[in-house]
Structure formats: C-alpha cells, structure tokens
C-alpha cells in the first residue's frame, strides 16, 4: 500500500453539537488522493456526523475544510461539495422510492437533462451497476420502491460512482455501504472500491466489519466519543488494536464467539415454529424448537424475510396458524430495514422501545408510565444505547443506536419467539458481541430465535441453519455440519 502523496480533503478542528450532545470535538482528518481511508468507531461515535459535514449537508459549529489545499470553509455546502467532486452515500436511504432507477440517477446528476435524458441516465446507471455488481438484476425503469433493500443499496452506490462528462469525482464517502448487502455483493463493492482508488481517486469507507476495513483500506482512523483517537496505515493496524482503540468492553470475548453445540435441544423440546415457504416443492420446512437459535442463510432477497413475515403473520392470528405455518407462541420482530419497518420517527426512544410491551405494562386500561420508563431505562443500559435521555427523539440516535432500540423493543417484550431480519445492520462490533451473548442467554432461558443474517460469522451462533435459494429452503445444516463452503455452495447451486 502506498503512502499518501497529496491531500484531497483536509478537515481541521471540526466541532458539532446537537443540543447537549457533542457529536464531534476537535476532529482532524485528511484523505489523500489514491487512498481509501477506513473509518471505524462505536455506534454514535460521530462517524456519520463527520461525513455529513464533509458532504456539506451539515454545517459544523467550528472548524475548517480545505479541498486540495484551498480553504473552502466559508462557502461549504452540498453544491460546492459536488462541484469539488465530493460525494456521499449516506447511512439512511437517499433515493426517492417513487422514482425509477434512472430518474434517481437524474436527481443526483444535474447534468443529465435535455432530449433523451432518460436513456442516457438509464445507460449510465445500469452500466455502472454492471461494472460494480455483475448480476444485480436491476433495470433502469424499475421503480425504486419495488426493489429490495439490498438492490436499493446497490443503486445508491452505483449512482454515486457514476460520472457524467462535465462532473468531477474525487472522493466518495461510503457510510456503512455493506450493511444491507449480502456477502457476495459486499465483496464486489469492495473490490470495485480498490480499483477506484487505485485509479487515483479517494474514498472514505465506514464499516463495523473490521475485516472489510483492514482488508480494503490504506489507512484507518478510529473514532470514539466524537474524537479521532487513532489514525495510521492499515498495515500497522491489527484487529485487536482497532478493538482496543474503539474502547470496546467486549474485546476480551473476541474469538471465543463460537457457540457450544446444543444439538440436544432439538430432540428434547417442543416445536415452537414450523413454516414452509409457499413455493416449496418438497416437504422441507423451517422448524424451530423452543430455546433454539435458527439461522436463515443464503443470498439477500431469496425469501428469508418473507418467511419471517409469514411466521409473524401467523403469530398474530389467535390460533397461530395459517396454511403453511404453525406458531405456538407469541412473536416479536427485530426489523433490519429500520426506516421502513422499524422506527416511529416522531416518537421518543422510550415510546419506540415500549410499543411492543404495552399490554404487559398496563394496569386496567392505562399504561403505567413508571413501569414503561423502567423498561426503557433498563434496556437502554443493557443494550448500551448512547443517549443523554430516553425522552429524546428516536432520530437523534445514530443509526446503530436506533437499531439497538429495536432490539430493546423485541427483547424487552414478553414474546417467546423473536424473529430477526438481518438485525445487525449498522451495529458496532462490540455491541454485536454483546447482543450475541444476550441472544444465547435468552435462548438458554427458553426463548426461540429465528435469525436471518447475511454475515457468515453470525451463523456460528445458530443451532441450526436453513439455506434459502429462490424462495425455497435448499439445505438444512446443524451447527456441527455448518461450514462457509456448504452455505455458499447451497446458496448458489441449491436448485435452478
């Protein structure tokens, strides 16, 4: 990896506060041409806020911004950032769901207009998609709202990398781009980032997957509580070093994450959930016994989320039954697409957590507010949600912390079955380990988990894993049989 030569951007002494929260304190950061800077830090460390400042969507309280050595602080805004070739893929979806893929490209590129602009826009974005994500399956005239979250993420990424003739492109900020992608697409993206950077452009990559950061960036900066606490070439960094710098308590458990086999559970305990995808042709079904952790694997968008919804819907029925599904206990769901499936944007953190538990918080017809607060506070501590007060709006939380609130909602409820829809999107490394622990101990107490995940290492936590392909279960692997090769093999070749 080569040494940075000249700086594309330079941030000096950036401060940003939201009310009492000091999101950024005296942050210095530079990105050089031809460099991929990895940015890591716990949830709420200030990474996204810093990137908003860099992209011009948030004005810092103090500090200076320079582009190629020229001070731009005074005039820094979205448009000047765009003029200077700085682009950002935000953590939250920035596509217009009512527009087509091509039209969304047009929104981002003011230059696409005039006769035949649709064709040009469509070609531009589809070419880029082909380049980054071969086999993406997205068409230029698909309406974004109809795409899966993974596909939307691909479109958003491709859109940021497209370049019309008159545009400059120097630096791309990727804020947790892989959180909604499956392993294959994530790898495609990261490989593309390397070619992009090797061509002399720059990139800031934010991720909670330390492997991605260490494997693909030239330099790594670590943020903690609004400050950059470490900044050195990736080659000099180790996984342990990163974890230590991020200040995670859970670091000790690292590596010990492998779960003890618990196959005995299968035999002894009653069935909690039985569900067959409606298109399944053989009699293979997803079965979960009480106290088990069941993993759903396979490429994104192959029917795992649908199965969870199918179970959830049956669970809402009084008798817990629909045509293909049997659910014996009550269900809660941890959404992965938190914007559309999870949070209530106008509510406080407290109300977002308690909504699933109102029934049990009741005395007579009324909710006991003291109990409600108790519930929220206790889960804030258990999940480590970073906020001065649970009465703050949910949107004041960083992405990962919002996700933690959704965990708190499900775990704090009386549901016996917890369905998880790729729930670790945006959750930081340390917290993940804590949540794994929590899930295991809850399972030990008899809770059942059905867990769709796109990350291989998470499957290690499961007692039994079902691999999906084309809306069907194509393989069932017990913990002892589970290997990455088997999962990947079934994901691709399970059946036509």
């Amino acid at each position: 990896m080569r040494e940075p030569t000249n700086d594309v951007v330079e941030l000096r002494g950036i401060d940003k506060s939201f009310g009492a929260v000091r999101a950024l304190q005296q942050v210095d950061l530079t990105v050089a041409a031809g460099e991929c800077l990895g940015l890591v830090g716990h949830n709420g460390a200030g990474k996204s806020t810093l990137m908003h400042v860099l992209a011009g969507t948030l004005a810092p309280d103090r500090g200076a911004i320079a582009i190629r050595g020229a001070d731009e602080t005074a005039s820094w805004a979205v448009s000047s950032a765009q003029d200077r070739g700085v682009r950002c893929i935000f953590q939250e979806l920035s596509l217009c769901p009512n527009l087509t893929v091509a039209e969304n490209a047009r929104v981002a590129h003011a230059g696409i207009k005039g006769w035949g602009w649709r064709r040009r826009a469509s070609r531009l974005i589809v070419d880029k998609l082909d380049e980054i994500f071969p086999g993406h399956g997205v068409k230029g005239d698909d309406v974004v709202g109809d795409l899966s979250i993974g596909q939307r993420q691909m479109v958003e990424i491709a859109r940021a990398f497209t370049q019309t003739d008159e545009e400059r492109l120097e630096l791309i900020i990727l804020d947790e781009p892989t959180s909604s992608l499956d392993a294959v697409s994530a790898r495609q993206l990261l490989d593309f980032v390397r070619t992009f950077v090797d061509a002399g452009k720059s990139c800031v990559l934010i991720s909670h997957l330390l492997g991605e950061i260490l494997g693909y960036s030239d330099r790594v900066a670590v943020m903690r509580d609004g400050q950059v606490v470490a900044n050195s070439p990736a080659a000099e960094m180790s996984r342990d070093g990163l974890v230590a710098a991020m200040g995670n308590v859970a670091e000790a458990q690292q590596g010990a994450a492998v779960r003890q086999s618990s196959e005995h559970v299968r035999a002894d305990t009653p069935v909690a959930v039985e569900a067959r995808p409606p298109t399944q042709q053989d009699d293979q079904a997803v079965t979960a016994h009480r106290g088990e952790i069941i993993g759903l694997a396979g490429l994104a968008g192959h029917g795992q989320t649908d199965l969870l919804l199918q179970v959830f819907q049956a669970g809402k029925r009084a008798r817990g039954k629909t045509k293909h599904t049997r659910v014996m206990q009550s269900c809660a769901l941890v959404a992965g697409d938190r914007q559309s499936d999870g949070i209530f944007p106008r509510w406080s953190i407290l109300k977002n957590i308690s909504i699933r538990s109102l029934g049990q918080l009741r005395r007579g017809p009324l909710i006991r507010t003291a109990k409600e607060r108790e519930l929220a506070e206790s889960w804030r501590t258990r999940m480590g949600i970073r906020t001065p007060s649970v009465d703050n709006g949910i949107l004041s939380l960083s992405g990962g912390n919002q996700q933690k609130a959704l965990f708190a909602r499900a775990f704090g409820s009386d549901a016996e079955i917890v369905l998880m829809d790729d729930p670790m999107r945006g959750v930081d490394f340390g917290t993940k380990l804590e949540v794994y622990d929590l899930i295991r101990s809850e399972a030990g107490n008899g809770r059942t988990f059905i867990w769709y995940t796109t990350e291989m290492e998470e499957l290690e936590n499961c007692d039994y894993v079902y691999v999906f392909r084309n809306n069907r279960v194509v393989a069932g692997l017990s913990h002892s049989e589970l290997t990455e090769e088997k999962v990947i093999h079934s994901s691709f070749e399970g059946e036509g």
Binding site: A332, L333, F344
Partner: protein, 315 residues
Amino acid sequence: MDQLRQKLGEVPWVWSFLGAAVMWVIAVYVADGKGAGDMLSAAMSFSVYFVIVGIGQMFVITLGPGNIDLSIPANMALSGALAMKVMGGSDAMILVGLLAALGSGVAVGTFNYGLIRILRIPPIIATLSASFLIQSVAISYGRGLRIKPPEGLGEFMSVQLGGVPAIAVLTVGLAAIMAVVLGRTPYGRGLIAIGQNTRAAWLAGINVEVTRYLAYTLCAVFAGLTGALLAAFSGGASLNMGEEYLLSSIAVVVIGGTSIAGGRSNVPGIVGAALFLYLMVTMLNAMGAGPGMRSLMTGLIIVGVITLAGGETDT
C-alpha cells in the same frame, strides 16, 4: 427565546387558546366592554359540538395522510333525525333516543370502514360516497320533517352553572377522557404508531385493522352523538344541520395542533380551536364586517395564527 419556543412547541395547544383569548379581547373591546361574560358562555355552549365532532375527526386524522371522515354532516343529520324520532318528544325516551343515535353512529362507522377495508376505497372518497348514501337514508327516513326534542333534553342542553353551560363541563370531561385514551392506553399508542408508519406498527404487533376500525367507528359515534345533542339544542333535527361541520371538523383538529401527517395528536388544542373559531366570528360580527370582509379576515387570521405558532417541529 428559543427555549420559550421549544417549551411552547411541546404544548402546541396553547396557541389555539391564545388565539381564542385574543379574539375575545378584541371583541369585548369593539363592543365597548359589553357582554364579556355572555360572549364566553355563548362560545362555550356552541363550541361543544365542534369539540365532540373534532375529537372524533382527530382519531381518524391521526391514522395518517389521506384519512379524513367526510361523512360527518350526513351522519349528524341521520342520527339527529333518528334520535328525535325515537324520543318522540317524550322525556322518558331520551336515553333510548341517545342510544339510537350512538347505534346509528356505529353503523355508519362500520359501513365507512367496510368500504375502506373490503373495497379498498381511499378513505376520503369512501366517506364522501358514504355521506351521499347516508343523506338519502336520512331523507327517506325523516322526509325532511322536523321533530321536536323532548322538553327535558332541550332544557338540559341550555342549563348553565354560573355562566358555564353544563354540557360544556361534560364535554371537557369527555375530552379529558379521550386525551387519556390517546396518550395512556395501548389503543391510543397503537393509533399514533399507525399514523407514523403503518407497516412498522403492524410489525410491532399492533392490530392495525382493529385499531383503524375503532377510529372510524369512534368518529362516527361522536358525530352521531353530536347530531342528537345539536338537534336537542336547536329545537329539532334538520337535514342540513351538519353541513358546516364538514370543514370545521378538520379545521378545529389542525388548528388545534394535531399533525395532519398523522402521528401527533392533541385533544386540548381542539377545545382551544373551537373557542377560537367561534370567538373569531363573534369578533368579526361585532365589528360589523360585511360577508366578504368577514370571510377574508377569517382566512387571514387562521393563516396568521398558524404562521405564528410555527410549523411542525419535525418532518
């Protein structure tokens, strides 16, 4: 200043009360200090109906964009006629008559919801279409004839305790209960959650359809109740007595600080807004403004108040 704004932002209903107070002061000033108290009691006795209807409409509006009940006027006409006919002028039948009005409300609400749920008709059009049907039922049932309310009920509607109408006190009680239902019961929470994000609400375990059904029914029941009360108060039901409630019911809700985008509701604000609208008309009447001027001023005042009160704190 910012802090004050924020404080006020937490209690958006103060604006409507503030507005009402300003209107009242101006009206009293214009009338050379005459009738300040009488003006308030008149405002209270007439605001009652707007408050009750408004609360129902608020439950529907809270469900989120596109949810508005336009069948309120027809519903009021029908239930008013029904109540008066059932009561047949006899004090003994008052309770039965009121129950009949509530029952017709339940029927209307169920019908509205059925159109929305089973036929998937967007609520605005569903309730608009329903209102035509209901109006026909009201016409064919009542034949446009006006039936007098029982003496006892008519008198009760204008009982005053030291200038405060008894019915206003009851209405404030009802509003308080509904505020608690909205803020402190699982049902209310579920309703507000649906208004913010229906899918997320469903996934959080809320019985979406039951909640929506209850909201539409509650709205219709409140409109039905208002129909009966208004008929009693104004000496009989008439086909057109609900007409002005079409827009007013929406106006009191939104001026009262409920977010039209759903997910934020405000019961006290409705009371303030109803008083505000009534006193504003009183003020303009007292000033002797002509019809055009009065309408113009009404509009400017509403826009002015909402601009002062500031917008939604979030988007």
